[in-house]
């Protein structure tokens, strides 16, 4: 076992700074996984801001009773566009962006398995987002004034039938999701092939960084989850354009079948979004606890378990339809079972923190927020999995509070953590710590004001998706508070965006390994050269950089 440490000179040829046109052309035609990853992230951030503005407009409308800030029609469009954008054009691309950027670096590869497919997937997803927003201009047909879809993000039949949704707005919705689904499957395929076929020598599957494992399972879920949605969207198109009757109750079709098809996609989709966030947590928490992750094999097993179980729970979104006793029992049971592997993960993260030397850097602050909030969200999830309880609270603001607790409290928090952690690698500069702390605390306060309180109007009977409400319902004060919390989160996000821009020019130089971390991406320059590694690395344990820094006490001595 000859072990040697070599200093490698970055041999990138730095061409003289090109004109704007050259730079644009380079980005438009690139097949480099890092550039594509960054484009995914940038594109997702734009949509995150757009959908965030939509959310704030809804909150202004709901802040006081009998408000007329927007019309009922606009309100319906707002929640449809907000939900669709956040799931398909903010959440998915931002996670794929980080995956694209990080997975090849973490497994010691030169690029993704299929670079051109990678570029194709990105551009077709981007086109999907464009189509969705083009509905604002083309929704009523080329000559009309245009309008956005207003059928809700799950677009239940028969609302989507031609009679109830004339014009093209629903078609833009369908097409945008179909098209971006193609991109998602392409990228997922690429990630799986990269992880299985492009690992550097010595990177056995049981040495794979947990983030790569999480992306592997997420991508596997994409195949069996996005595809049913694609199939359902094709059926909807056939109904709307060729007069087919899949969801046409007049001709014997079934509206409930659409619900099944949608949620067969919809529930695993939420796990597609949360698993990469678990991946970030599994990388960040150990580094800032200065300990190796606790229970690596259990983490992997729990991840795979979550992947499988999440395919069996979809009808918990349909308890109020009336599933019959066996259906209710089965889906209540399977939904509760999924909290077992999820709990294993939470305990492993806690055990990693336990006895660690915790560094409260900004990525760690967000990760700790994630841990706490994810547990709370899981608990309201288990409450909703009890079907009689759900009959009371289904379609109320309690549900909205539950899933935003996961989507914002867990996923968005971990995305922020990932930005603070990997931004130095991507740009070569640290994000400003002071601004980061302001961002964290403001966002934390705003989050809890909004989403803790939002459970209460739900319990008091406030239905979701209502445009306004009467003053005598007893929800008014709560709704005002919820809206104020939303504004605080908005301000925090602006601080974050400012930090991104400011630190790009003025941030502290990061160097290759600012966090004293252990995975391969920190062994190359920040930002990494086009070829990633001057020499293909070889690894002997799960923490190759630890081995490098502690040649007398390498991990490989302890890992089985």
């Amino acid at each position: 076992m000859a072990t040697q440490t070599t200093a490698v000179v970055d041999r990138t040829v730095h061409a003289p700074r090109g004109r704007v046109f050259d730079v644009v052309k380079e980005w438009l035609t690139t097949v480099d996984h890092k550039k594509i990853g960054l484009m995914y992230i940038g594109y997702a951030l734009i949509f995150l801001l757009i959908a965030g503005v939509e959310a704030l407009m809804m909150r202004i409308q709901l802040a006081v009773p009998n408000n007329h800030f927007v019309s009922p029609q606009t309100f319906n469009q707002l929640f449809t566009m907000h939900g669709t954008t956040m799931v398909f054009f903010a959440g998915m691309p931002i996670l794929f962006g980080f995956g694209n950027y990080l997975v090849p670096l973490m497994i010691g590869a030169r690029d993704m398995a299929f670079p051109r497919l990678n570029a194709f997937s990105f551009w077709i997803s981007a086109f999907g987002g464009f189509l969705l927003y083009y509905s604002y201009f083309g929704g009523s047909g080329m000559y009309g004034a245009g309008s956005a879809p207003d059928v809700g993000w799950f677009a239940y039949a028969p609302l989507t039938a031609r009679v109830f949704s004339p014009g093209h707005s629903t078609d833009y919705w369908t097409l945008s999701i179909l098209v971006s689904g193609v991109g998602s499957i392409g990228t997922a395929l690429n990630i799986v092939a990269t992880i299985l076929c492009m690992r550097c020598p010595g990177m056995k599957m049981n040495r794979l960084p947990l983030l790569a494992w999480l992306y592997l399972v997420t991508s596997g879920l994409v195949f069996v989850t996005i595809s049913p949605l694609t199939a359902a969207q094709i059926m909807l198109m056939l109904d709307r354009y060729l007069g087919a009757h899949f969801f046409d109750t007049q001709a014997g079709g079934s509206a409930v079948l659409w619900m099944h098809f949608f949620w067969i996609f919809g529930h695993p989709e939420v796990y597609i979004l949360v698993l990469p966030a678990f991946g970030f947590a599994s990388e960040i928490i150990p580094v800032f606890s200065r300990k190796a992750i606790f229970g690596y094999p259990a983490m992997v097993a729990a991840t795979v378990g979550i992947g499988f179980i999440s395919l069996t729970v979809w009808a918990h979104h349909m308890f109020t339809v009336g599933l019959g006793a066996p259906g209710n029992a089965f889906f209540t049971f399977s939904t509760m079972v999924i909290s077992v592997p999820t709990g294993i993960k939470v305990f492993n993260w806690l055990a990693t923190l336990w006895g660690g030397k915790i560094h409260f850097e900004v990525p760690m602050l967000f990760s700790l927020g994630f841990l706490f909030q994810f547990v709370v969200a899981g608990l309201t999830g288990i409450m909703l999995s009890v079907s009689p309880f759900d009959w009371q609270l289904g379609s109320s603001y309690f549900v909205v509070a539950h899933f935003h607790y996961v989507l914002v409290g867990a996923i968005v928090f971990m995305i922020f953590a990932a930005f603070y952690y990997w931004y130095p690698k991507m740009t070569g500069r640290m994000l400003d710590k002071k601004l980061g702390q302001w961002h964290f605390w403001l966002f934390l306060i705003g989050f809890h004001v909004t989403f803790d309180l939002m459970h209460i109007p739900g319990l008091l009977g406030m239905p979701r998706r209502i445009y306004t409400y009467e003053a005598d319902r007893g929800w008014a004060g709560l709704n005002m508070a919820v809206s104020i919390g939303g504004a605080i989160q908005g301000i925090a996000t602006l601080i974050f965006v400012y930090n991104l821009v400011h630190s790009y020019f003025k941030g502290k130089e990061a160097g290759a390994d600012p966090w004293d971390a252990w995975t391969l991406e920190w062994s190359t320059a920040s930002p990494p050269p086009a070829y990633n590694f001057a020499e293909t690395p070889t690894v002997e344990s799960r923490r190759p950089l630890w081995d490098l820094k502690h040649p007398n006490d390498p991990d490989s001595k302890y890992e089985g």
């Binding site: 000859a2 490698v8 000179v9 299985l196 076929c197 049913p228 199939a231 062994s523 690395p537 040649p551």
Partner: protein
């Protein structure tokens, strides 16, 4: 310009990983299979639920000959692959041509069946639930056959012009995986549409 430490170099035994073409195709097949499953579920769910005629029993005939053609094309494409592997270029072209021919016969058969159904039996996609689910499921499969035939014809052209050598045998292997999948789906569609639900 920066100096960067790399990772220790050490002798790692033989380092083998699966072929990325095969893995990629396997992923695509899983995704495609999920799409087909949804269409098949819809077909089964709506079987016998049409509010008006014609019914499958009245109008469908078993497409035995064309099905045999399609299934045997799985065998011919396999022979094309192994011929290429052994560097026998003429045999490769021959087997590929046969595969395209057999697939083409299947497609023509589907076309004739649809013509019959539309013009003589008056069944279109909007007639009833049977028409809706039948045309979409069989059509989805046929569109996969078309894609496969285009790819196979391209391979045939490359083989005839001598641009395809045994170095490409893995690529042909990946394509034939796809073709096997299309054939396997047909067996399921055949059983569901023409046997169980007729």
């Amino acid at each position: 310009m920066s100096n960067v430490a790399t990772i220790p170099h050490s002798a790692v035994g033989e380092w083998k990983q699966p072929s990325k073409g095969v893995v990629g195709m396997a992923c695509l097949i899983i995704a495609e299979a999920s799409i087909f499953i949804i269409f098949i579920v819809a077909y089964l769910y709506y079987a016998g639920k049409s509010l008006s005629g014609p019914t499958p029993h009245e109008v469908l005939e078993l497409p035995i000959f064309t099905s045999i053609c399609l299934i045997s094309s799985s065998i011919t494409v396999h022979f094309a692959g192994s011929a290429l592997h052994h560097g026998k270029r003429n045999a490769t072209s021959l087997w590929l041509a046969l595969t395209v021919l057999l697939g083409g016969i299947f497609l023509v058969g589907t076309g004739q069946e649809w013509y019959q159904l539309i013009y003589h039996d008056g069944l279109t996609i909007s007639t009833n639930l049977f028409g809706t689910t039948f045309y979409s499921l069989v059509g989805l499969h046929a569109s996969h056959v078309i894609v496969g035939l285009i790819m196979l014809s391209l391979s045939l052209i490359f083989s005839l012009t001598g641009q395809m050598t045994s170095a490409h045998s893995e690529k042909l292997e990946v394509l034939s995986l796809y073709w096997h999948f299309v054939d396997a789906v047909w067996i399921v569609v055949f059983l569901v549409v023409y046997v169980f639900c007729r």
